[in-house]
Symmetry: C2
Subunit: 366 residues, 2 copies
C-alpha cells in the first residue's frame, strides 16, 4: 500500500458531475485531476484543476499524462480531443459512444438499428426538408439542433403552420432534426454502468419532471416490472453495441404503456443524483468502479427517494437543513445565473407517501 499504487482519474470537465465523481472516488483512495476552461469550476475544490481549452490537444495530453484513466463529465467534449489522448491514457466511455451521442440524428439511427422505439424523426438541413418533415410526420413536433442541445436549449416547438417559419428562423442554417410529438404519459430514465470486465449494473427506472426544459424533480424508483425489463433490454443493446465502459443514461417517454427512447447521455446523469443517498452504491461510485475495472456495487434502493434541483438560486442552508431528512448538495459554483443548476436536495423515506411529504417541504425551498 503506497500512494503511488493508488489510481488517479482524469476528468475532462469540472462541473458538478465531475465534482460528485471525485467525492465518490476519494473514499476509495482514488484521486481525481480535472481539466476545465474555467479556474473556479466546482471540481477544483476536490482535486487538482488544469485549465485549458477543450480543443487544446497539447494541453489535454499534458493533463492526461500520469493519469490511470480519463473520463468526462460533459458529453460535448470534442471527439478529436478524446481521440488525441490515444497512447497517453485510456478514455472511458470511448470516443465512438461519445461521438454518436453528440448528434441527435446518429443517436436516433442507433436506437432504430438496435430495435429501440423512438419518436418518428427526419433530418432537416434545408427549409424544404422541414416542410416535408412536418407534412410527413405531422404536427405538433419539435425541431432540434443535432448538436450541443441540453436543458431545452436548441429546440423549437412547432404546433401551427405559422410556427414552421419561426422555428426555421430561430434554428435554421445548422444540421437539425424534426421529431414528431410523442403524447407521453410520463418521462422516465434508466441509469446503468458497464465495467471494463463487461459486468453490467442497472438502477431502477426513475420518473422525471421537467420545468422550462430543465430537469426539476426525479422520483425513484418508478417501480414497474415490465417497463424495467424493457428498459434494461434496450440499455443492454446499447452497452453491448459499444462495448461501453462507464455509466450510461437513457431517457425514455412512456407512451401507451411502452418505452420510446428520447435521448442518451454517455455519463452520470442528473436523474441519477438520488443514488448518493437512495441506493447502496451511487452512480458516481459505480462510474469510477466501472472505468477502473473494479467490481460494480449494488444498485439496490434504500427506500423511496426524490431529488429536487435548485436552478438559478440556492436555498439558505439553515432553512434547507431544517427540513426532515433533507440532504443538501451545493455544487460550490461561484456565480448564480438564471437557468444554472446550482445544487440539489435528496429526500429518502420508507414509503412513497412519506417521500411525497418530504418532497413537498423541499419544493418550498426553491
Amino acid at each position: 500500500m503506497s500512494g503511488a499504487a493508488r489510481p488517479t482519474v482524469g476528468i475532462i470537465g469540472a462541473g458538478q458531475l465531475g465534482r460528485m465523481l471525485a467525492l465518490a472516488a476519494l473514499p476509495l483512495g482514488i484521486r481525481c485531476r480535472f481539466y476545465d476552461r474555467v479556474a473556479d469550476a466546482p471540481g477544483g475544490h476536490v482535486g487538482e484543476l488544469v485549465v485549458g481549452e477543450f480543443d487544446d490537444l497539447g494541453r489535454l495530453r499534458e493533463f492526461a499524462r500520469g493519469v490511470d484513466v480519463v473520463t468526462f463529465d460533459w458529453e460535448n467534449v470534442p471527439v478529436e480531443s478524446v481521440r488525441a489522448l490515444k497512447g497517453v491514457a485510456p478514455v472511458y466511455p470511448a470516443a465512438n459512444a461519445l461521438e454518436q451521442s453528440q448528434d441527435r440524428l446518429y443517436e436516433k439511427a442507433l436506437f432504430r438499428d438496435l430495435g429501440i422505439p423512438t419518436a418518428p424523426y427526419a433530418p432537416v438541413d434545408l427549409a424544404s426538408d422541414l416542410e416535408q418533415a412536418c407534412a410527413r410526420l405531422g404536427r405538433p413536433g419539435i425541431l432540434k439542433t443535432r448538436r450541443l442541445g441540453y436543458d431545452g436549449k436548441g429546440q423549437a416547438r412547432i404546433r401551427a403552420a405559422a410556427d414552421v417559419a419561426t422555428a426555421w428562423g430561430a434554428l435554421g442554417g445548422q444540421p437539425l432534426v424534426y421529431e414528431g410529438f410523442v403524447r407521453f404519459e410520463r418521462e422516465v430514465s434508466l441509469v446503468a454502468a458497464r465495467s471494463r470486465r463487461g459486468e453490467i449494473a442497472y438502477y431502477p427506472l426513475v420518473e422525471n419532471a421537467h420545468e422550462h426544459g430543465i430537469l426539476a424533480i426525479t422520483r425513484a424508483p418508478y417501480a414497474h416490472a415490465k417497463l424495467q425489463r424493457e428498459a434494461e433490454r434496450h440499455m443492454r443493446a446499447v452497452l453491448e453495441h459499444f462495448r461501453y465502459v462507464g455509466v450510461l443514461t437513457i431517457e425514455f417517454f412512456v407512451e401507451r404503456g411502452r418505452l420510446v427512447a428520447n435521448e442518451m447521455a454517455p455519463r452520470v446523469h442528473n436523474s441519477g443524483h438520488w443514488t448518493i443517498e437512495g441506493a447502496e452504491t451511487s452512480q458516481f461510485e459505480n462510474h469510477v468502479r466501472a472505468i477502473l475495472g473494479l467490481p460494480l456495487g449494488s444498485t439496490t434502493t434504500r427506500g423511496h427517494a426524490a431529488m429536487v434541483n435548485f436552478v438559478g438560486r440556492l436555498p439558505k442552508p439553515a432553512r434547507a437543513l431544517a427540513a426532515a431528512g433533507l440532504h443538501l448538495h451545493d455544487y460550490g459554483k461561484s456565480e448564480a445565473r438564471p437557468g444554472r443548476k446550482l445544487g440539489h436536495a435528496t429526500l429518502v423515506a420508507a414509503t412513497p407517501a412519506e417521500r411525497e411529504r418530504r418532497l413537498k417541504a423541499a419544493l418550498k425551498l426553491r
Copy 2:
C-alpha cells in the same frame, strides 16, 4: 449566493477524521482548510493544507485568519494553541472541554462530579501511590498515563504483585492514574452532537470490539432502551456542563447491566464511522452542522451496520469491492505502518443476521 458567502471550516489535524469531516462538508458547499505537521496528511487531498507545528502560535493564527470556525480532529492539540486563536476565529469544541478530556484524572473527576459511574481510580505520581492504589482498589487493574494515551498506548495491566514494579518501570515518572479493573460484559459508545443553538442529537449506542487496544469492529445499533436512556442522560450532563458545541463521544463499559464511563473524546470518533452509510446524517456532517450553528440532521439508522477497521494493511480494492454491500474507506495515507489505521469498511443490512454474514466476509479482508 456567492463563493464568499459560504463558510470555511479550519481543522487542526488533517488525519482521517479531518478528511471525513471535509468530505461531509463539501456537499453542503463548505470548504475546509487544514493545519497539520506533515505535508502528505490525508486531509490535504480534500482541502488546503497549512503545514506547521501544533505549538507554533503565529502559524496557527495565520491559518485561522479568514476561517469562519476552527475545530480539530485530534484531542491532543495543545490547549494553549486553541486559546491563542481567541479573537481570530471561534473554536468548537471549546478549550475547556478539550483540556479536561486530555487528562484521564480530570476526565474521571468530571464524570464523578456529574454522577456518572466510572471504574474505581486513584492518581499515581510516586511508586508508593501505586502500591497504595493497588492495595485499596485491588488487582487486576490498569496503570495509565494521564495524558496522550490512545489506541492502548501508555497502559500497563497489573495482575500479579510482580506486575507492579514492571508497570512502574514502563510508565513511572509522569502523571498516572490507576484504575480498578471493570469486569465488563461489553463495550459500547455513544456519539452525540450539540449545536451552537443548544440543539442535541444522539446516535444509538453501538457495541465495540477491540484488538490489541485498537478498535476493531463496531456494530450499530446496540439496541437497549434502558441503557440508551442512561447513556443519553450521562451524555447530556457532560454536554450541558461544558455548553459543548460539536460531536462528543463517550465510551462505556456495560457492567452488571449498567453503564460505567471509560473515557470521552471531544470529537468525531472511530466508533461513529458507520454513520456515513448507516445513519440518515453522518457524525461528520452533524459535527459540521453543529459548529456552524446549522440545524442538526436526523440520526435515524438505516438498517443494521457494522464497521471493520483496516489496521496496518489495506485490502486490495478489487477484492474488497467484490464483497456484497461493502463500503470501502481508504484514508489515502501515504505510508502503511503496523498499528496504523489505514481505512475501514462499512456494511449495512436489513437484519442483524444479514449484517453478521456481510461482516464475516469483510473480516476475511483484513
